[in-house]
Structures are given as C-alpha cells and as structure tokens.
Assembly symmetry: C2
Amino acid sequence: MSLRVIYRILGILLMLFSLTLVPPMLISLAFEDHTLSAFAIALGITLLTGFALFYPNRHARKELRNRDGFLITVLFWTVLGAFGSLPFLLAEDPNLSIIDAMFESFSGLTTTGATVMTGLDLLPHSILYYRQQLQWLGGMGIVVLAVAILPTLGIGGMQLYRTEIPGPLKDSKLTPRITETAKALWYIYAALTLVCFASYWAAGMSWFDALGHSFSTVAVGGFSTHDASIGYFDSATIEMICVFFMVVSSISFGLHFAAWREGRISHYLRDPETRFFLILLLILTCVTIAGLLLTGSYDDSKALRHGLFEAVSVATTTGFGVADFTGWPGVLPMMLFIAAFIGACSGSAGGGMKVIRILLILKQGVREVHRLIHPNAILSVKVGKMRISEGVAEAVWGFFSVYLLLFVLMMLGMLATGLDQVTAWSAVGSALNNLGPGLGEVATHYGDIPGAAKGILILAMLLGRLEIFTVLVLFTPAFWRR
Amino acid sequence: MSLRVIYRILGILLMLFSLTLVPPMLISLAFEDHTLSAFAIALGITLLTGFALFYPNRHARKELRNRDGFLITVLFWTVLGAFGSLPFLLAEDPNLSIIDAMFESFSGLTTTGATVMTGLDLLPHSILYYRQQLQWLGGMGIVVLAVAILPTLGIGGMQLYRTEIPGPLKDSKLTPRITETAKALWYIYAALTLVCFASYWAAGMSWFDALGHSFSTVAVGGFSTHDASIGYFDSATIEMICVFFMVVSSISFGLHFAAWREGRISHYLRDPETRFFLILLLILTCVTIAGLLLTGSYDDSKALRHGLFEAVSVATTTGFGVADFTGWPGVLPMMLFIAAFIGACSGSAGGGMKVIRILLILKQGVREVHRLIHPNAILSVKVGKMRISEGVAEAVWGFFSVYLLLFVLMMLGMLATGLDQVTAWSAVGSALNNLGPGLGEVATHYGDIPGAAKGILILAMLLGRLEIFTVLVLFTPAFWRR
Ligand SMILES: [K+]
Ligand SMILES: [K+]
C-alpha cells in the first residue's frame, strides 16, 4: 500500500470536510442558538488533523493501484463518520455519548437516517441543519461512489451490466475520468436538490425546513427537522412533492445524466431496472392502500395518502414518515420492510440490495427451473437486450448470499445484547439497507438500545453503504499481500 | 404426459400404502384402544381407491420420460399425505378437523414432526404408533428420493457434486438402477432402525416407545409418543443414544452404504460435506453449552446434557426435545433455529437447505472476494478434490435464492392470517426446513393457529421436502407443453 499517498488524500479530505462546518456556524449565528463554539472547535480539530496528515506527505506522489481504491473508500467513510460526530459530541444540546454521536454521524453520512435523538423540534437549528447536510454530503458521495468508483473496483450494481451493454450509460459517453464524471453527477444532484427545495418552499415549508428536507430527500436519507417527520406539515401537496423526489432520487444518476444531456425521458422507460423498480413500487403501493382500506385503518383519503407515502418512503429506503406504518395491521409492516431489502436502483443514493440484483436473481431462478425441463438446452439470462455473463451472474448470487449471511450474523449479535427478535432483525435490516426506521423497540428511534447494539448497527450501515465487498476485501490476507 | 401410466403407478402406491395400516390395527388389538375401526375403514378406502386407479389402467405400459418423474414425485407425496390423514380424521380420539388431520399427516410423512395435538400420553396407542410409522415411511421415501431419484431429475444436493466426482458414491458402485439402489438403501435404513430400537430398549424404554422413537429418530422426524418428547424418559443414556442416531441419520445414506460395503469409516471423514457438518455441530454445541453455563440457566450437568441434545436435535432438523430451547436466553433460540436452515447432509432424511449447499455458497462467496483482488485470475471452487462447474454453482445459488424468496412469501402469507412476526417466520422456517418446533405461538404445538396458516405450512413442508424445484417445475407452462 502507498500509505503516505493515502495519508495525503485523507488529509485533503478532512480539510475539505472542515469547510462544511461553516454553513452550520452561519445557521447558528442566524438563529442565535448558542452552538457556535461546538462547530468552531470541531472545525479546528478536523482542519488541524487534516493538515497534520497532509503536510508531511504533501510531496507523496505515487500511482494508485486499483486495489488501493478499496482501502481509500472504506477509510473515507469511516474517517468522515468519526470526525462528523464531533459537533454532536461537543454541543451541549443534544448531550450525546460518544457511541450515540457516532451513531448519528454514521447514520447521516450513510444516508440511513436512523436517529438516537428525540425532541428534534427543540434542538438548536445549527445541529438540525448539520444532520441534514451530513445526509446530503453522504448522498453526494454515494452517487459518485456507485456510478464512478465502485465499478472500476469491480463492485456494485451499476457495474454489473452497464459496463457491458451498449445501453444508456455507454450511449451518453459518461466520461471515463472519475473527476469529470463526478462533476457531472454533482451538477445533477445539486440541480435536483434545488428544484426539490423550491418545490417544498412553494408548498409552504419554511426556507429552513425546505432546505433541510430537500437535502435528505435527494440523498434518500430520511432525516427530518421534526419528530413527526413529513407528517409534521400535514400537507398533501408536500407529501406528493416528497413522493416524487423520493422516486426520482432512487433512480440511477447515470440515467438522469443521459436523459438530461439528450433532453429525453425515454431513457428511463428503456432501462429494465427502472421499469422493474417502478412496477414494484406501483404494486406495493396498491397492496398497501388496499390493505389499509380493507382493514378500515383510516378513512379513504387518509388511506390513499398514507399508503402511497409510506410504501414509497420505505421501498425506496428513504424512511420519512407521515404515519406509523410499523403499527399497521397484518402483513403490511413486514411487506414494506422486506421491500426495503430490494431497495432502490443502482447508481442512486438509495439503499437495499438494489433492484437490478433482484431482477437478475429472479431471471436466473426462472432459468434454473427451465433448465430442469430442458436439461441440455443452453439458456441464457437477458436483461433488456443484453446477455448476462457467468461472471456477472456469480457476482450477483455472491452478493445476495453474503448480504444475507452478514444480516444473520449481525442479527445474532444484536440478540446477544439482549434485544428481542423483532427489534434485532428489523434494526439490522434497516441499517444494512440504509433505510432508517425499524420495528419493535426501534420503531421511532434508536436511543434506548445497548451501546454494543449501536456499534453493530454502525457496522451494518457501513457494510450496506459500501456494497459489502468493498469492506470485506480488507479482511482477507490476500488483500494485504504485496 | 402418460396419464394412464401415472394412474396405474399411483394405484399401486395406494394399495401398498393401505397395507401399512395393518400394523396399527394389530397395535390397536393388542392395546384394546377402540380405534380398530378407524384404521379398518381407512384401509378399505385407500385400498379401493388404489384398485380403482390401478385396474382400468393395468395394461398401460409406456416408457416414462424423465419429465414425468417430477409429476409422479409430487403426486406420491400429496396423495399419500391426503390418504394418510384418514385415520386421524376417522378416529374418535383425537377428534381432528380435516385441516388438522391433513397437517398431522403431511407433517409425519415429510418428517417435519410439527404436531397439532396435545395430550399425546393419553391418545390411543394405535394412533401414536401410526404417527411414528408415518415418519418412518416418509424418511424411507426421502432417502430413496434424495439418493436415487432426484439426481436423475437434475435436482438436489446429492446430485450437485457426487455425480461428478470420483468420490465415495462412485467408488462404491451404487447400482444405477433405481430399484436396486432403493433396496440397498432400505436395508441400511431398516438395519439402522433395528439397532436404534435395540439401544433404546436396552436403555430402558418400553418396546412400544423404543419402536416409535427409533422410527422417528432414523427418519430425522421428531414425533414422540409423549408430550415431553425425549425429556419424558429423563435418562442421560437415552439422550446420548438419541444424539448418536440423530447425527448418523443426518449423514448421507450413500456414504453409509459405501462405508458398510467396505467395512471402513474413513469414507465419512474423507467426505467434505460430512466433515463440515460435524464441525458445525461441534461449534454449535459448544456455543450452546457455553451460553447456558454463562447465563446460569441450568446447573452444570444439565447445561451439558440439554445443550448437547437440543443443539443436535435442532441443527439436524430432528426436533426432539428435552428442554424448552425456545425459552433460552439471548441469541441461543435464534442461533439454533438458523442452524436448521443449514440442516442435514444431502442424501439423508434430514431437512434444511443441506450442508453441501451452504458449503458451496461459502466457498463461492470467498471466491467472489478474491476475484475483486485478482480481477483477471481464473479462480475455481473446489469441494474436496473436485472442481465445481458453473452449472452446479448456479443450481446452488438458484436454490438458495428461491428457497429464501418462498420463505419470505409464505411468511407474508402467515402474517396476513393475523399471526405475529415471531410465530410467522419461525413456523414457516420450521416447516420449510422440516424441523418441527417453532417459536412464539408454535413453540409447543400448532393446534391454535388459523386453518389458512396450517395450509401454508403444509405447502412449506412439501416444498422443503421435495427440494422446492420438483414442485415449482409443475407451475411452469413449459413443463406442460408436449
Ligand atoms: K434512508
Ligand atoms: K423433523
């Protein structure tokens, strides 16, 4: 490994990150919420640490190998998660322990949106803003990671088929150089945020709430500035805007880029993953609404509004709330929760296993059945017009199995901390899928579970966010061999 | 399809099955338990139906195609399950509804061992004997199915690698003709039952209990003649005998055959699946005992006895009990329950996904990680000395995914009947893995859940028992095309 180069890069990253503490300081000044010093100290610590890492290694230049990408990616997220917790730790309100501050920071950066805090409405504005901004930055990082970086490492849903087909992404000639790709994606991400902000504002949110919620919507994050989440506004208009942007943000930013460049939306409908995703959302929404109507849980208009919103919010792994879906009757909570395992499209900031993987697994399952009937036929799996290679198929199965294996192991770990089964499985599922809300004891917040359980969940969020294998690779002896 | 040939075969099957009602009639006479007529009527109905199916088609001769094997296999199990319920339905004690009688019959035949009955100790002896015999017959059928029939259809753990390696099975020249293979397997199965019976009897069981429990032990079934199961005898000797035979019965009968023919036990240790299975059992047992000791759940000797017995009973998917493991602290119940998803070795009467599949998935998972580090290397997965082909790898992934998908769907179905999450997931898991006991409301018996839920569980037992794809194939249009 080129340790000095990696130190240099991390140093730059931390110095840049320290700058992101300036906006919350301005918010603190504007609202006079007496949290300025917490951010100032955090900025100082982060900037100095960054400089201390950067300066001695400022001349370190060495070609980074592909393999270094794994280490740098994991370090980026863990180091930012750790330093991101400083404001939570230093602020007097909220008064968080180290593990709680870490949990909140990692939950923000990974766009999970699980929180250990209650009484959000009474917190300093700067802290509230900072949480939303963490999600926004995390989402930005994830989009670039998913579209531009992980594929070069051989990981992730995007790479699985898009590098091999003459599909939307290749057509649009997304520049192969990571920095230029990143810039293009950020423009789209920022533009989407801006439109979302304006829509929320026009629909009646304060500028502060509109900004904060546009941040966490586009990031598929789910943090809110109110305990009641989107339900606080009790506005059908705001809910519809939110649903629209949750769906848009859960679609590949590679597609957005292609559609924007060519001014056409047919790209979306030609993309098999997007089509499958939209169909799934439609079915889930219909079943949810039907379930609510049949059980008479709400009056008709509420059933429509709540059913649509919660189905989209959970299935896209955003995690905003307008109603407590965990208390809904029968199969509904579990069904939505399992939809979050499928998750969003690859190349978005959404979580879960990603729609394309599930689509491929279903197609391959059907193929296996057909193979039994026609043992000697050569049956290939196609997505769109493209034949899936053995390597891609195995990568998908491998991801699926390891995902579930880690899910089970971490769930057992949670049970060992004394939690009940429903809390344990739903908390790990929620963290691994970067969803946010859980069931049981963690239906509203994660403040009351043991510290060890929070540690497991932080690991789960990271694993989910980094497509698991990016992290796992670091634990193999082969990786560290020269 | 050659419908007339299939009718003829089913007719013969039913007539043969009707003969198996003679032993319970003898038991009824011996114990004067007033249940003779129920068995006599059931025998009559079964024999006549069989004759009615057989006689008009007695001259139907047509070469059966491989594809007919799927239909015949599924029909065998469903028809026997249905007719096997007659004695439960006709007997005055127990007074069971149709769905309950069906549940008990399918649970017996599939060697699941879940029961809807309580107060076993007070039931007529003939009914008790009949339940045990159902498991024994089911286990016999499964061993033949798994070793001799499913592989020719391209399904199942046995086929996955043994048909391709010069391993134990090929060495031993198990005759390719199904009938001869079946005969050899039945001899071993019967011999194992006999030794098990003699051991139980020598250890102090009555001949009736020894016979009944030897039946359900060798079948990896778990039905007992007492509500307290093996715990009724409160004998460390009996428990050790039971543990020994549960383990032996969970190992491939192909291996038993090879070991017996050549008089060597080295076959077992050379077999990668058996080795992995025994290591898993050892680890599980140690963790369980450690957990019980650390939490002070029992005094030391009880912790050893109960820990060993329950770990082996659940992990082999037998489902006998000496203690209520579902009430054990922390992670233990869930851990054991998840071990049942791994299950027994292929080619045994045990359930679960089968050890070989999990072994292959783990190896392939490791391979995927290595592929990321060495993107251009050609990395093959080996079991023992044999390289796993793409086709086998895909069959394993496919099985795993479809298994879990069906698990989730059936669990959602259970939730829709109004059951709680723990009951729903554990009941489906238990049925699909052919384990027996569940958690929550079904920790002791399945009598109190809704009829629709029992129907789902019957389906789950069948799917699990027939390695899923045997059943799924029948639901594809391609199968029914000429
Ligand atoms: K989220
Ligand atoms: K069983």
